[in-house]
């Protein structure tokens, strides 16, 4: 039984990596080459939900499935900001999550990058203007890359994250 189940996950499920578009390539080029040299071709990602509807989280989860297989690119999710190079932040940052996001950012060692995910992470999305919402992620911590979409598909997420690795 186990043998059968293990066989089911081998190729050909895993798909070739998506091509980068010009806009993302430009963003990636803006990143610090020295820091990238120091980190090599691997990035540890800490995901922070700062007010999302959980749609973005579902698609971020999908990066780990056999079709997308994030770890083959040296990208992996870690359990603590203290182990992270990248904070992957979703949500129109809520006022109730603002301090938690700031503290997570402060707990992440330099050099670090922040990727704002989703239309809400970009500018607050449909929740912009609410009394309970700060707005996009960049209103609270400095953002290096924005991956739009509601939610962005795993392919869009993968393309964005790969741009961090390929200057």
């Amino acid at each position: 039984m186990l043998k059968f189940l293990l066989q089911g996950l081998r190729a050909p499920l895993t798909e070739p990596p998506p091509a980068l578009d010009a806009e993302l390539a430009a963003l990636a080029a803006a990143l610090d080459r020295t820091a990238r040299k120091r980190l090599g071709r691997g990035l540890a990602i800490r995901q922070v939900d700062a007010g999302s509807c959980n749609g973005c989280e579902l698609e971020i989860h999908a990066l780990n499935n056999a079709f997308h297989d994030l770890e083959r690119f040296g990208l992996r999710f870690v359990a603590s900001p203290r182990h992270a190079d990248v904070l992957l932040v979703t949500g129109p940052v809520t006022k109730n999550m603002r301090e938690a996001l700031e503290r997570t950012w402060n707990a992440t060692p330099d050099p670090k990058w922040v990727v704002a995910v989703g239309d809400c992470g970009a500018d607050g999305g449909v929740f912009a203007g609410s009394y309970a919402v700060v707005g996009g992620v960049s209103a609270v911590v400095p953002v290096d890359l924005v991956i739009r979409g509601c939610p962005p598909s795993p392919t869009q997420l993968l393309r964005g994250l790969l741009s961090l690795l390929t200057p």
């Binding site: 186990l2 509807c53 499935n65 449909v126």
Partner: protein, 494 residues
């Protein structure tokens, strides 16, 4: 006369409230309703406020539903939570959002309001957790930022050694002010916000909202739209149940099941994207019908997918059931007693794994499910294992439902225009079965706009039960218990 009919008869009928009756009641009748809830003759479906008024939705099983409304111009009303615990957090939220004071509610702490909405912020540490008194106790604070890719919330464990003595949740971190954004909103804007209340249930939320708008405006969407809505709802249920089945096994460190279930979930989402243009089918259900039709190619793709899913899932279930080390973690872990599930009106797999036979697709029921054959699985063990098996059975039922839906899909238009229909005023309600349980939507339409809309996720009545089931279990089993509940943070925090 039934308990519900007696309460309605003691009030003044409110016109223009569909499809279930509403009565304006006095404080005395409001208190009677609370007492009847506490006696167990009624189940609380929802409790919400608006400036100067409180509303309470009641269920008399099997399927009688009504709303009682209480005017409280001075902002005070008799607390329901003082007598009936499931109302406590709803009343704390009403106080935070509308300033309505529940007279007699012992818990005076805020709930969704963390003191950060205005300019003056009290210190974050000022929230007092409930005490646990005894020897050799220690506290474990967890969150709001958790170790996995999950939503934020705070769990305060008090443990003696490995054993949990008390768990208290503190939620509200993802409060986005959704009900305020929905006040005086155009229907088209409101439907986009409602669809983003809990992303994993976006289809169910849009369905509930559409049905409530249609009830308020007294319109009936075309038959094909009604059936396509059910196709999307069952695809959403499948995708989530596959994900949960895998994730529960993964929380017992049995990762192979998650790896396979994640593939099945991905196949469902890809089919959804190909058929409806969005992986989560967000914004596809709208008042008046559905935004996108399903072509012959889409039907063929889904019909090909169904047996593939069923065939691939069966050996995973067999593996689960034959792996003693896995069952050792799930059997007798996190038991929810049937009496507690009944008192809290626990919906979805949480209730149905603890003997509560309630599924909004059956009772009160809504089309097209009245024309379809399906069973509602019910178990009584109430442990993590039972919540796993309810999902297994529901996956099989959803596959059968989709087969029927695709075979007998009616022809015709899929969307009617709202231009030449009533613009209100009217109040509409809907109760629909999301993957995690019954979702209540109540709204008022005035001059073609949403004047007020309340959304009550199934999680409101499930979160408090998670605190109860973890008691006496070891800390390491909390992720299993939590995943087997899989409550929504965003759907609850609004």
């Amino acid at each position: 006369m039934t308990a519900l009919a007696a309460l309605l008869a003691a009030g003044i009928p409110v016109g223009g409230h569909y499809p279930w009756p509403c009565a304006a009641v006095s404080e005395t009748v409001w208190r009677d309703a609370a007492t009847t809830l506490a006696d167990g003759a009624l189940t609380l479906l929802g409790l919400w406020g608006e400036p100067g008024r409180a509303h309470m939705a009641l269920l008399e099983e099997p399927a009688a539903i009504a709303v009682v409304s209480l005017d409280c111009p001075d902002g005070h009303y008799p607390s329901v939570g003082a007598m009936h615990a499931p109302a406590i957090r709803l009343e704390r939220a009403m106080r935070d959002l509308f300033g309505l004071i529940p007279e007699g509610l012992p818990d005076t702490r805020p709930w969704l309001d963390h003191g950060r909405w205005g300019e003056d912020m009290p210190p974050a540490a000022s929230y007092p957790f409930l005490p646990a008194i005894g020897e050799a106790l220690h506290q474990i604070p967890v969150g709001p930022v958790h170790a996995g890719i999950i939503e934020p919330g705070h769990f305060r464990f008090t443990a003696q050694g490995e054993t949990v003595v008390r768990l208290e949740e503190r939620l509200g971190y993802v409060h986005k002010g959704i009900e305020a954004l929905l006040s005086d909103a155009q229907i088209a804007r409101a439907e986009r916000i409602v669809a983003r209340t809990s992303g994993d249930s976006t289809v169910a939320y849009s369905l509930g909202f559409a049905r409530a708008v249609e009830a308020a405006l007294d319109i009936t969407p075309p038959p094909r739209a009604v059936w396509l809505r059910a196709v999307m709802a069952e695809l959403e249920r499948l995708a989530n149940h596959f994900g949960d089945f895998g994730a529960i096994c993964n929380d017992a460190s049995f990762a192979i099941v998650l790896a396979h279930c994640a593939v099945l979930r991905e196949r469902v989402l890809r089919a959804a994207s190909a058929c409806f243009g969005h992986r989560l089918m967000m914004d596809r259900i709208v008042p008046g019908g559905v935004a996108v039709d399903l072509g012959a190619a889409g039907i063929a793709r889904l019909r090909d997918l169904l047996p593939t899913l069923g065939d691939a899932f069966a050996p995973l279930v067999a593996l689960y059931d034959k792996t003693a080390s896995l069952l050792d973690r799930t059997v007798t872990t996190g038991i929810l007693k049937p009496e507690l599930a009944r008192r809290f009106g626990a919906g979805g797999y949480v209730g149905r794994a603890s003997g509560r036979n309630f599924d909004a697709r059956k009772q009160p029921g809504y089309p097209p499910y009245d024309e379809l054959r399906f069973d509602v699985p019910v178990l009584t063990d109430g442990d993590v294992n039972a919540r796993v098996w309810i999902r297994v059975h529901e996956i099989r039922e959803s596959l059968g439902l989709l087969e029927q839906l695709l075979t007998r899909l009616p022809d015709g238009p899929v969307l009617m225009s709202l231009e030449n229909v009533s613009s209100g005023p009217g109040e509409g309600m809907a109760l629909v079965e999301a993957f995690r349980g019954d979702l209540l939507v109540w709204l008022r339409i005035v001059e073609g706009r949403v004047q007020r809309c309340h959304l009550r996720d199934a999680s409101w009545f499930q979160w408090p039960l998670l605190e109860a089931v973890i008691e006496g279990n070891i800390v390491a089993d909390f992720p299993l218990c939590n995943k087997s509940f899989n409550c929504s943070y965003s759907g609850h925090d609004l």
